[in-house]
């Protein structure tokens, strides 16, 4: 112990390490407590951050989109050329698309059902093909949502009867995010312009959510007057706000859970350190007798507590990063997609872990340092 490199660097650290190795099981259990606390804080925090990231990733396009439809005071049923032009005028830098909807009975290989029909001016922006593909200059054929394709039992290449027309299926679409403005799960997507000139909705897509919210305000104030709501303009701002409030609540709750487990862990460190001072009363008395100052004893005991904390926290951080990778793989489909925020939680966990065990070491260390050498030695 005394001749090791560690001892040359700090003999007290080596001595502390040696003391911890005396009650190995107890030391490991105390460290495990800290590890669990750190894992709780770090991985629960990371979980919150990853959840948020995953939500923002999947809803990203929806949040950047503003929808415009006929309002309650509208003198039109659908948005014709004139209305679309009006929207375009106030849409700033946003890209403008039109969306038309309808309903029809659809017959596939297995059965007939009623499905919604959707046609967007630029399908590639809103839907992606899971199998088959959307032709660049799409004129004929239809694309079918995954669920509907399942119900009908059709694949690309098959034909379906939409209304009274026979159409070839060119693609089955990938599942769309639930937040998306264009829901295609059980819909038939027709080539642009097939549902007539009138659009049931105009979609304006901006580059950032903030831009979208600004466009939304711009549209609302210019298209509608105080008394007449000619257009209904809707964006994801309030939904995003609600989500942010909820996620911060969830995160606070998760951190509180982590904090409680760390509190329990520091109580266990306190217990371990107190037991060890009581057990080593005579030995500490001997150290005092042979010339250790109170500060030396304090330092020795604090090193022991800090070592428990540092080693326990390192394990905690390693485990948390492992768990984080699992979460990332599951929610963000990339194990290494750690956000800066998620990594901050591991640092936070580490600091809390070492800090907590240092603080719980204070009282036992103080108690050990202040035991009078005589009393410590009295049998």
């Amino acid at each position: 112990m005394i001749d090791s490199p560690l001892a040359r660097f700090s003999p007290f650290l080596a001595f502390a390490r040696n003391n911890l190795s005396r009650a190995r099981a107890r030391t490991i259990l105390a460290m495990a407590g800290i590890t669990i606390g750190v894992v709780a804080i770090a991985s629960l925090g990371m979980f919150g951050a990853t959840l948020e990231q995953s939500f923002l990733d999947t809803t990203d396009s929806a949040i950047r989109t503003v929808g415009v439809g006929p309002g309650e005071d509208a003198e039109f049923q659908t948005l014709g050329r004139e209305q679309v032009a009006e929207v375009e005028r106030y849409a700033g830098d946003g890209d403008v698309y039109t969306l038309s909807r309808g309903r029809a009975s659809v017959t596939g290989l297995q059965q007939t059902t009623t499905a919604s029909l959707v046609s967007v001016s630029d399908p590639g922006v809103f839907v992606t093909a899971e199998s088959g593909q959307l032709p660049p200059n799409w004129r004929s054929g239809v694309a079918i949502g995954a669920e509907l394709a399942d119900t009908l039992g059709v694949e690309p290449g098959d034909s379906v009867q939409v209304g009274d027309e026979n159409r070839r299926v060119v693609a089955v679409l990938a599942e769309s995010s639930r937040a998306s403005f264009v829901q295609t799960g059980d819909a038939v997507v027709l080539p642009p312009g097939e549902l007539g000139d009138g659009a049931s909705q105009v979609l304006v897509r901006a580059d950032t959510p903030q831009e979208a919210f600004a466009i939304s305000d711009e549209l609302d104030s210019n298209l509608n007057s105080d008394r007449r709501t000619r257009y209904s303009v809707f964006d994801a701002e309030s939904a995003l706000q609600r989500f942010n409030e909820q996620i911060s609540l969830i995160r606070t709750f998760l951190l509180a859970v982590g904090g409680v487990s760390l509190l329990v862990a520091s109580v266990s460190i306190l217990n371990v350190m107190l037991m060890s001072t009581i057990e080593r009363k005579e030995e500490i008395g001997v150290l005092r007798a042979v010339g250790y100052h109170r500060l030396d004893i304090l330092r020795l005991m604090l090193y022991e507590a800090a070592l428990l904390g540092v080693v326990g926290s390192i394990f905690g951080v390693v485990i948390s990063i492992g768990l984080g990778m699992l979460m990332n793989a599951e929610l963000l489909s990339d194990p290494f997609a750690f956000s800066a925020q998620a990594l901050q939680f591991t640092v936070l966990g580490f600091l809390f872990g070492t800090g907590a065990s240092f603080v719980s070491g204070l009282y036992p260390a103080w108690k050990a340092a202040n035991a009078r050498p005589v009393e410590a030695l009295r049998d």
């Binding site: 112990m1 005394i2 007290f12 030396d296 009078r372």
Partner: protein, 223 residues
């Protein structure tokens, strides 16, 4: 000049409404190289005297003087430093650290000093001196009682003390190993280190240069 001395030392312990005069005016001085033993029935104040002379405790009245310095003039910190430089301790139950080797146990008191360069060499040398040159890397549980006590003696010598204070050093040892420990003591006193031991062991009192008999906190006999 004496190494350490107590003059009219009184030590009063108070617990609740009872006061106990553990020492009631004791004057002792220990000369360099002297081997003195303190005997007396239990409760006569032997351990209290040892604690006072070991600078572990302060007298309620009277004075303890080390090398001409009155202890009451020193701060706690200075007292600890003086204790480290002047006094070595040996205990009945050895109090070795179980996870440290003989060599490391001997070196422990030196960990707090700034100059640790020859600490290991000094520990080895001291262990060789007490006849344990071949047990340097043994752990306490691999040593016999007598060997453990000799490790403890080597430890008490690491800071070059002027006096060793021993509390029943042969109390846990049989006759034979006790005699070995006494031989080591004899070697030490030849180098002008004084030894003061509290004991019930006649083997020790027979061996001592001087025996101080304490009864009810006063010296009844000193020769």
């Amino acid at each position: 000049m004496s190494v350490i001395s107590a003059t009219d030392a009184v030590k009063i312990y108070e617990s609740g409404d009872k006061t106990l005069r553990a020492l009631d005016g004791v004057s002792v001085s220990v000369e360099p190289g002297e081997f003195a033993s303190v005997v007396g029935p239990s409760g006569s104040g032997k351990s209290t005297l040892l604690n006072l002379l070991g600078l572990l405790d302060e007298p309620s009245e009277g004075a303890v003087t080390v090398d001409g310095t009155d202890l009451s003039t020193l701060s706690k910190r200075q007292r600890t430093d003086l204790r480290r430089e002047t006094v070595g301790f040996i205990f009945q139950s050895f109090y070795l650290v179980p996870t440290l080797t003989a060599r490391e146990n001997v070196a422990v008191p030196g960990l707090v000093s700034d100059d640790r360069s020859d600490l290991i060499e000094r520990a080895d040398e001291l262990l060789t001196r007490v006849g344990l040159g071949d047990r340097l890397d043994h752990y306490p549980n691999e040593l016999s009682g007598g060997q453990k006590q000799r490790v403890a003696i080597a430890r008490s010598l690491i800071n070059d003390p002027d006096i060793l204070l021993a509390d029943e050093p042969t109390g846990n040892l049989d006759q034979g190993t006790g005699a070995q420990v006494l031989d080591v003591f004899d070697e030490i006193t030849k180098e002008d280190v004084a030894i003061l031991t509290v004991t019930h062991d006649e083997q020790v009192t027979d061996f001592a240069d001087r025996t101080i008999r304490l009864v009810d906190g006063v010296i009844s006999d000193d020769r």
